[in-house]
Structures are given as C-alpha cells and as structure tokens.
C-alpha cells in the first residue's frame, strides 16, 4: 500500500545524483586497510557547482569516539591553532595524513585483529576558508548542525587490521557509454535529450578476492561485490546506484542545458571501505 501511495504521490525533492550544492562524494584512504603504525594519506572527491571549494579540513577519531569528536578541537580561545591532536590537516595548506597509532588494536582480542576496527575520519568541506580561520565554539556547533551555508560534513571509516589480504581501493579506469569505453577524464559529446546506457569500467584487479576467518574459526574465500553511485549537474539518471551484477544505468541529457560542457561522475565502493572514482566530461550538442 505504501508503495502504491508513494507511487501516486509526486514527491518534489532533489535527487541524490544531482550536484546542485557543495557535496562530498567520496573519500579514499591510501592504504585502504592500514596496519598499526602505517601512514595513511587521503584524497577526496568534493564538488561545488557554483563556487570553488577553498578548504577541506580533516580530523580523525577512534570508533568509540564517533565521527564528531575531532570537531571539538575547532573550538577554543585560540581558534584553529588549538586544534586537537586528532587534527589531520587542512587542504590545500596541509594535506591530511594520519599516522595510525601502534597501539590501535591493543584493546582487541588476538583473534579479532585480522578483522580489525575502524578509525573514523571526519571531513569538512567549506567554500569559504574564513569560516575555519574564525573557528570558535559557536562555529563548530554551526558546522555540526549544518547551519553554515556552503559547508558539508562527511565521515568515513578506515579499517585498521592485521588482515592477511588487506583491502585496496578499486580502480575505475573509465565509463562505458552505449558500449564504448571512455577513459576517465576524456570528454565525449552527447546529444540533447538523449538517453545513454552507462556502465563502469574497472581495472582487472579492482574486484578483489580475500580471506575471511568466520565465527567458527574457519577461513573462507570471499570476493568483493562493489556498487556504484552516479552524479551529474544536469540531466537525469534512471537510478542513483548500480550494483556489481546490475551494472547499467540510463543517463538522459538535458533538453536545455545551462552548461554545454559539464561532467558526470561515478564512485565505486567495494563495501570494505575502499573507494575509487572516475569523471566523464561531456559536451552537450
């Protein structure tokens, strides 16, 4: 019944594939599944359709602390200079780096260390850096509550483990448009108000096989089942996500595009914390 009523109701809200405001779309940690003592570097896919993104601030927390812990460091009398030890960096001034503590897994039973526990990385993207420079307790609260315009907060888990087959980020080599593979970053021309089939082209080693020790202590061979999220500035997707075994989405170009040149993006997630993405610049003719 609910399906029927939802179907009958015209819900007029924006879709998640629409890039109509500042968005954090993906964060990749390298390595994707570090061991204690490893140095982890981060990169992000942050898009803003109107204003460039000036700052991306990074903080790190343990799983127990939760995603918001690092933001407390933004408050205090001395402003940004008093950032807590969990502070990882502010792009573009200082690229984020996380040194995984050597004792990160110490509280975990020996048997569980192969699976590990995640650290929580919080990312704040802001189009105006002054909001961070003027950081205060009020600013932090406003950031958390989303009251600051043109800001976006996202958080990501970084699994830390002693896995024998640690995870790697999937590599997206491009996007296949109506059966033709296009390398990431290469522009294609599409007709107005036309529908195109799109699939993700992954590197050969993108879908990994790995070992998992189950609750009975037996080691299982498993394989990743990635899924993909699609984004555009204009036009529309038939669905927001596609699955590893349901790979195709339909993209319909706008009839009256605001920008003749724009881009589509796809983000691949391997469900183990690994991420990769690709951009498909398009020209609408």
């Amino acid at each position: 019944m609910l399906l029927f009523l939802l179907a009958c109701s015209r819900i007029e809200v924006s879709e998640s594939w629409q890039i109509d405001r500042l968005r954090i779309l993906a964060i990749a940690a390298e390595p994707a599944e570090p061991r204690p003592g490893d140095t982890v570097r981060f990169r992000s896919l942050v898009l803003s359709p109107n204003r460039p993104v000036e700052c991306v601030a990074w903080v790190g927390c343990s799983a127990e602390e939760g995603f918001g812990c690092g933001l407390e460091g933004l408050s205090g009398d001395s402003g940004a200079g008093a950032l807590a030890s969990s502070f990882l960096g502010i792009e573009p001034f200082s690229p984020p780096v996380w040194q995984v503590p050597l004792d990160f897994l110490d509280g975990l039973p020996e048997a569980d260390r192969e699976e590990g526990v995640p650290g929580i990385i919080t990312t704040i993207a802001i189009t105006d850096c002054s909001a961070l420079q003027d950081a205060s307790a009020e600013t932090a609260n406003e950031l958390l509550s989303g009251d600051i315009d043109s800001s976006e907060i996202g958080f990501k888990r970084v699994p830390v483990s002693l896995a024998t087959t640690p995870n790697h980020n999937p590599t997206v080599v491009g996007i296949t448009v109506d059966g033709i593979e296009v390398a990431s970053g290469v522009r294609v021309e599409l007709d107005r108000k036309q529908t195109y089939s799109m699939t993700v082209a992954l590197a050969d080693d993108a879908v990994e096989s790995y070992k998992y020790r189950n609750g009975d202590g037996e080691v299982e061979d498993r394989e990743e089942e990635p899924y993909f999220s699609w984004y555009s500035q204009e036009g529309s997707f038939s669905q927001t996500n596609s699955l590893w075994d349901v790979v195709t989405v339909e993209y319909t170009t706008p009839e009256l595009p605001v920008h003749l040149e724009q881009s589509l993006w796809v983000v691949a997630r391997d469900r183990r914390g690994g991420m990769g993405w690709a951009e498909l610049p398009i020209r609408i003719r």
Partner: protein
C-alpha cells in the same frame, strides 16, 4: 396489534386552486404523486376498546416539494378517527406530481383506514367483507402476495377488487382467498403504507379457481429491519452500536461495517485510511479486535480498505472506545467486537457483490422441517493484484497484494432451550513486491530481491449456551486456530512465525432477579509458536554495528509456549425500582501470563461503571477502571537465556458522559475521558549489548478529551451523525523527563459528518466529510554524510514532534440505485473517495540529505463502482 389501512385515490387528483370557468383547463399530469413516507396515526383508545374500525376520507393538498399542506376530512368516521388521521396525514411526504412544466401542487383524496389486526380482531372483522362474501359461495380466486425482489410473504395486507368492491386480508403466509368473485375481468388493487400501490387485472372463468400470485414493491428496501436489527443489551458505558444497513451505505467504507469505527468519536484518523485502530490516544496495538468475543490479531485486509469478515454475515459492530467491562482484557486502548449473525432467514438467500477491490458471495438458509438448522457460508477474493500494476507501472516496483477470506457458520435454531453455533473463518493476505531486472533496490547486496509478506488467520469457534437453572446459565466459547506471519526480502532476510492459539471463554451468568446479575468468567489464552529468523548478519556480532565488517548469515528457529488463564467477575446491580433506571457494574479481572523461560507476570484490574437514567430521555454515565496489557511478542524476548523483566503496561481510565434523546430518532452523546498510562514499554536507554534487556517499563503517558456524537437514526429517508473529538495525547519515555511530547497520532480536532438520504425511485445518496488536525512531526536538518554507505545521517533540529502536518480534509460520496425485479434485486453504486481533497499530507518525506522535504499525499480521488445481487428462493 393495530393494522392501518390506507387507500390512495390517484384518479381523483386535481390541481388547486379550482380554475375560474373562463380560464383554460390545467395541463394534464405526467406523473402522479407517490406516497414516500407514511406516518402511523395512534389508534383512538375508545375505538380500540370497543373494537370499532374506521375509514376516513381525506383531501390532502400536496405542494411542489411533495409536502402535505392542508388536510381536510371529506368523509368522517367519528370515534376520534378523523382527528388522528388528519394529524398523521399532515406529516406524510410524497414525490411531487408533475406536469409538462415540472412539479406542481395537487389535491388528492386519501382513505385513511383504522383496522384492528388479526391478533386483536374478534367480532371486529370488517363486516362488509363478511357480508359481501357469503360463505356459501365457493372460492374462485386465490393466491399469495409476496414482496417483489425478496419473495417475502406479506401478511395482513388488504386486497380490494374492482368493480365488485370485495376485500380480503392476507394471512401470515401472505395467502388470500376470495369467494364469489364475478366472472370475467376484475382488478385487484392494493394500497398499503410503505409499499407502492399495485393494480393487476385477472380474468375469472366459470367453474374454475383462478390462481394469482401478486408482487408488491417496497418503497424502502432494507430499512424495514433496520431499527433494532442489531440492538445489543447496553451494559457498557460507551457502547456505540450501529446497524449494518446504516453502515453499508456510508461512502468510503466499501460497504464494510467495521470501517465505520473510523467515523465515530474517539477514533483518530489512521494514515492513508489504513484502518489502524488509534482509539483515545492509544497505540494501534493497544486496542483489541474480536469476532464473537474471540480475539483475532488483525481486522483489516491489506491497505485497510475492508475487514476480514464478510459484511453479509455480520450482525453488528460494538465499538467500545474506553471504560469497557472486565470481560475484555489484555488491552489498554479500545475494543471492537464484530458479532456475526445469530439467525439466518428461513428461505435460502444468495448474494454476490463486486467492487474495485474484490468479489465475493454469500449463501444462507435454514434447513430442516422446523427450519432448525441455520447455515451461512461466504467467501471473497481480491483482484487488486491485477489492478495495482497499472498505477505503478512506471515506478520500477511491481506490487501485487492479494487477499481472500471465508466464513462458515452453523446455528441451531430449534426449540430446545440451548443456543449452539459453530463458526469457522479465516483469511490470508499476501503482498508481493519486486523490482524489474536491472533495477537496484538500494545499495545493500543483501537487500536485493523480491519483497514478500504474508499473514493469515484461521479459527474455529463454538458457542454454547445452556440454562442450568432458571437464573443460571452457562456460556462456553472454545476456539482454536492458527496465525501465521511472514516477511521475506530476497534470500537474505526472513522472519516467520506460526502460532497455534487456543482461546476459551466460559461465563456463568447468574441472574436471581432483574435487579442483580453476577457474571463470573474465565478468559483463557494459550498456545505455542514456531518462529524462524534468517538474517544476513549475526545480530550479536560486531557486524550489526559496523557496516564495513564482514557478514555471516544468521538463522534461528525456536518453539515457544505461553498461556494466560485470566479470570474475571462482574456484577450488574440495578438498585432502583425501575431496573432500567440505574445500572452499577463493578468488576475485577485477574491477568496472568506465563511464557516459560522468558516472561511471567500477573496483575489485577478493578473496574466500575454506571448508567443512570435521570429522566426518561436523559442518562448520565461514567466509569473508572484499571487496564493491563502484556508486552508485544517481540518485546517478550531476549537472546540470552535470562527472563525478561517487564510488567504489563497500565492505563487508569476515567470517563463521564451524558446522553440525551431528542424524540425517538435524534440522540446526543457527550463524553469526557482521561487516561493516565504508566509502565509503558519503551526502548531501553541503557541498552549496550545483547545481554541487556531491549525494553523497559519507563514510559508514561496521558490522554484526555471530549467526544460528541449527534445521531439521527435511520428512520425515514434520512440517517446520519456528526462526530467530534477534542483530545490530546502525550508521552514521556522517562517519568523524570521535563516535558511530555505529543503522541505520534495525536489529533486535536476530529470532526466527521455522515449522512444518507433515500431519494425516490430507490436512489440513495450518502456523503461523508471529515476534518482532522494534522499529525505531529519532527523537523530534521542537513544530515552528515556517511561516505562509506553513501547515505546521510539525519539530525532533528527540534524537539520530538514539535510541530504538525497541515490539517486533513476530505469529502466522499456514494450513490446507490436499487433495481428490484420479481425474484431478485440489483444494487448498483458508485463510491467516490475524496471527491474534494486538500493537500492532505500523510507524512513528511525528506530528500537524500534532509535539506528539502515534501509531503506524501493522502489517497487521490478514487471512483469505486460496484454492484450487489441478492436473491431469495
């Protein structure tokens, strides 16, 4: 005892005022006036005492609207007959006469007869009949008079022959005989209140007995048995019983009697009209639903459009919003008790109904020489699974809900001083929803696949009432059956529960005098359930909290038993000389529940209610009582082997009300209520691991308000009521919290108006209008993005339920047309839901990051045509 006779002299109709000789003759009438509403005059006591009958000839002026204006006596009968006839005739209502220009005023002659019926008739049989039909002449015209469409024999109706003037009256079987009718053509004329005048010509042949079966058309089918058709003894303080014929004409109910509850005071509007019972600020699961006193888990089929009992077998619906007696337990909300028919008609009756949702048939009959065995069977099947994909074709979803239900009842209708009946009934609802190939259903790999839910109930119950002594009876109602529920999503998720339930009610009412009645009873509920749960992850592992952790399939299958032999005793004390003047009803209920290894609890519920007729048409009523409710099955479970430490939820309820009758057909009912709820079961705020209890008894709540019901009984062409509820319902999850928050379905104002009107030519129109305050809702702001799951976590930016959705308003209409043929009837109708609808938001839905929101609207305008065929044999 008194039979009234009238005769309408249609041929004498003329238009007033008398035209001056110089003017033209008035145009001829194209349509004669037809009597629609007959008013029975009181039989003059003096005439009755003397056994005198009378026939008054009246001149009635009927205006363009069909109202009787002036009434004059053209031929007096004396003995008080003339005055009584005039007063009654002034209240007649006709369909207006019409000429080419439309309705016009006319004057008709009308014979108003006063005849003592057969039960009181001794020597008062109309003398002229005896005198004009000498017994020495042979019978040469005979037959039977039956009602057109239903074949119901019509007794005590006068047949008049023209031109001979012979008359006779039908017997109890509708049969008649006439002697010495002149050979050749003769007209049989029947004019009787409530029936369309009939005239039929028969030809009599010398030396033969002519047989003539006569058919008389009722002016108002279905209404004859309405008043008192379902009149339970009113022992509850707030017992709103509505007759079935009345209910089935309410628009938007698809003729379903149970859905009428939604239009009565105290019942909040359920989302999308799904029929959730939200009574006096209680949760839907807090109200009990019964069939013949036996509790069932669900009362509505999928979507809430129709109840699970075929309306053709339903005798009535008792709606008890609060203050009910100790015979009902395990509920802190309200009670809806559906009562099936306790007698079937003598002659076989079949009916078939079809609407946009389903089709079904019913067969009832009384068998045996003395019609001592009554049987009724009914079944329905929906086809909404065929229609719904038409509406959802472009959404990607293929949703296919379907249901069926069946009922079979046997009633012993013989002379033995026992009551015995057996009822078997059941239903199944299935919802199957799937996504087409190539369509991802979210991003969770275990959330892919077809969605299926199925639930079913099957019951057999026996009702036996045996008199032990003159003042002591045994009422025994055992029942047994199965409830099954299942939810499946792909191959990864499944939850199924098959529950075998035995419920036994036994009462021993003792009534030593009309001033005192004691009812001890037992309400046993017990059984066992086999449940199975399959999950894609182990809920006790870290995977249940870390979405990136590896999952391991989990399954559990267990059998659980439980039983609760509740007992109660209730007294009905009528201390005043007139037993109907005051009823005081104290009661005590003992509740016990034992689920071995999981839960054990007991409680006592004392209750007291009264009804006091302070004047003939005014009654005061009130109640005070404690109500207990055991935990829901999912609350009475913990994964470790520890006992669940939960008490029953409690509600202390008080009501005070006043009833006032305005004449015989208009009634007003005002009632105030207050409910204090405590020990409510809420989520455990200190829940940390699976060895902690999921739920605790820390919730409290309160609900208070006023209910008004103004009702016009279905007497004459009009029925309807206005229902208004002013209420507030609030909750606290912890008694120490500073403030209450609004209950999720709190609706300050609920105003419903229902009306139906019988039109000429068996048309009937009815309407329902409703205005309801919007449900509370909570405001959410921009969420924080979970990059791993590609979802936003919402944060409320306000207190819980701090504001309301816009108000809900709707009007639904229904138009019926009854076609009556000699041996069957066809009722065609159009039921239009939401003829006028506002935005009617049902709930607020947010976009992916909680920066925008929109309303999911209520049902659109839905025209629902349907028909019902009825035939008697």
């Amino acid at each position: 005892m008194i039979l009234l006779l009238l005769s309408l002299q249609g041929a004498f109709a003329q238009q007033p005022p008398p035209p001056p000789p110089a003017e033209e003759e008035p145009p001829p009438l194209l349509k004669d006036p037809v009597l629609l509403e007959f008013v029975q005059a009181p039989y003059p006591p003096a005439a009755q005492a003397e056994g005198v009958q009378g026939l008054v000839l009246l001149a009635i002026e009927i205006d363009e609207t069909g109202a009787a204006r002036n009434v004059e006596v053209l031929r007096a009968a004396g003995y008080g007959f003339d005055e009584a006839a005039v007063e009654a005739a002034k209240l007649f209502r006709f369909s207006p006469a019409e000429d080419a220009s439309g309705p016009v005023p006319v004057i008709i002659e009308f014979e108003y007869g006063f005849i003592l019926d057969s039960s009181s008739r001794t020597d008062a049989v109309p003398q002229e009949v005896v005198e004009e039909a000498p017994v020495e002449l042979p019978v040469n015209l005979e037959g039977q008079l039956v009602e057109m469409g239903t074949r119901r024999p019509l007794a005590d109706i006068t047949l008049r022959l023209e031109p001979s003037g012979l008359e006779t009256i039908t017997d109890a079987e509708g049969r008649y005989q006439l002697r010495g009718v002149p050979i050749g053509e003769t007209k049989i004329k029947i004019v009787h209140p409530g029936f369309q005048p009939m005239e039929e010509t028969v030809t009599l042949t010398e030396g033969q007995v002519t047989q003539a079966k006569l058919w008389l058309r009722n002016l108002s089918y279905g209404s004859a048995g309405v008043v008192g058709a379902y009149q339970r003894e009113k022992v509850e303080v707030t017992q709103r019983s509505i007759s079935i014929e009345e209910i089935r004409r309410i628009p938007g109910t698809f003729g379903d009697p149970v859905r009428v509850v939604q239009s009565l005071p105290g019942a909040a509007r359920s989302p999308f009209g799904t029929g959730l019972l939200i009574i006096r600020g209680s949760n839907p699961q807090d109200s009990g639903v019964y069939v013949d006193g036996i509790r069932i888990p669900l009362i509505y089929h999928l979507g809430g459009f129709e109840s699970v009992i075929n309306p053709d077998l339903v005798a009535g619906v008792d709606y008890l919003p609060g203050g009910f007696g100790v015979q009902y337990g395990r509920s802190t909300g309200g009670v809806v008790d559906v009562t099936t028919k306790e007698k079937f008609p003598d002659r076989p009756h079949i009916s078939w109904s079809t609407d946009i949702l389903d089709s079904g048939g019913t067969f009832t009959a009384s068998l045996g020489k003395k019609k001592q065995h009554g049987i009724g069977v009914a079944a329905r099947r929906s086809y909404i699974d065929a229609l719904l994909p038409i509406f959802t074709a472009d959404t990607g979803f293929v949703a296919k809900p379907r249901w069926y239900d069946y009922q079979a009842k046997y009633i012993y209708q013989g002379d033995a001083p026992i009551k015995f009946s057996a009822l078997a009934f059941g239903f199944e609802d299935v919802l199957f929803a799937s996504t087409p190939p190539g369509f991802s259903q979210g991003t969770d790999q275990d959330g892919q696949g077809d969605l299926g839910t199925r639930y079913s109930t099957h019951r057999i119950l026996v009702n036996l009432e045996v008199p032990i002594t003159e003042s002591l009876h045994l009422r025994f109602t055992p029942s047994f059956g199965n409830d099954y529920g299942e939810f499946k999503l792909g191959n990864a998720w499944k939850a199924a529960n098959s529950q075998w339930v035995a419920e036994v009610r036994a009462e021993l009412p003792w009534e030593p005098s009309e001033h005192f009645r004691l009812v001890p009873g037992v309400d046993f509920l017990g059984g066992w359930s086999d449940f199975e749960i399959i999950l894609p992850f182990d809920p006790s592992s870290f995977a249940s909290t870390d979405p990136l952790a590896e999952r391991e399939p989990f399954s559990v299958a267990e059998t659980q038993t439980g039983w609760g032999p509740d007992a109660y005793v209730m007294a009905q004390i009528r201390p005043l000389k007139d037993p109907e003047a005051l009823l005081i009803s104290p009661g005590l209920r003992f509740n016990y529940l034992n689920i071995p290894g999981e839960l054990q609890q007991f409680s006592f519920d004392p209750r007291l209610s009264f009804r006091w007729a302070i004047r003939e048409q005014s009654r005061l009523k009130g109640s005070l009582g404690l109500y207990s409710q055991p935990p829901q099955p999912f609350q009475a479970f913990r994964p470790d082997d520890e006992m669940v430490e939960l008490k029953p939820e409690k509600s202390l309820s008080a009501t005070l009300g006043f009833e006032q009758d305005f004449g015989q057909v208009i009634h007003a009912d005002v009632e105030f209520f207050y409910k204090h709820m405590y020990d409510l079961i809420v989520g455990n705020p200190n829940f940390q691991s699976l060895d902690t209890q999921f739920f605790v008894n820390s919730g409290v709540g309160r609900a208070y308000g006023m209910e008004v019901l103004l009702r016009h009984d279905p007497v004459g062409p009009l029925f309807g009521w206005i229902s208004y509820t002013l209420s507030r319902s609030e909750r606290k999850d912890d008694p120490d919290d500073d403030r209450y928050y609004l209950f999720d379905y709190d609706q300050t104002h609920i105003l419903s108006a229902v009306a139906g009107y019988k039109l000429p030519f068996d048309f009937e129109i009815s309407a329902k209008a409703q205005y309801v305050t919007g449900n509370p809702t909570t405001t959410y702001g921009l969420g924080v993005y979970d990059v791993d799951l590609d979802t936003y976590n919402a944060f409320s930016t306000s207190e819980y339920n701090d504001r309301r959705l816009p108000a809900y308003g709707t009007v639904s209409l229904r138009l019926d047309k009854l076609f009556t043929f000699k041996t069957w009837q066809l009722d065609l109708y159009l039921d239009v839901l939401n003829v006028i609808r506002g935005k009617n938001p049902e709930f607020e839905i947010y976009n992916y990051d909680y920066t925008e929101s929109d309303y999911v609207r209520g049902l659109p305008t839905i025209p629902g045509p349907g028909f019902e065929i009825k035939a008697d044999f």
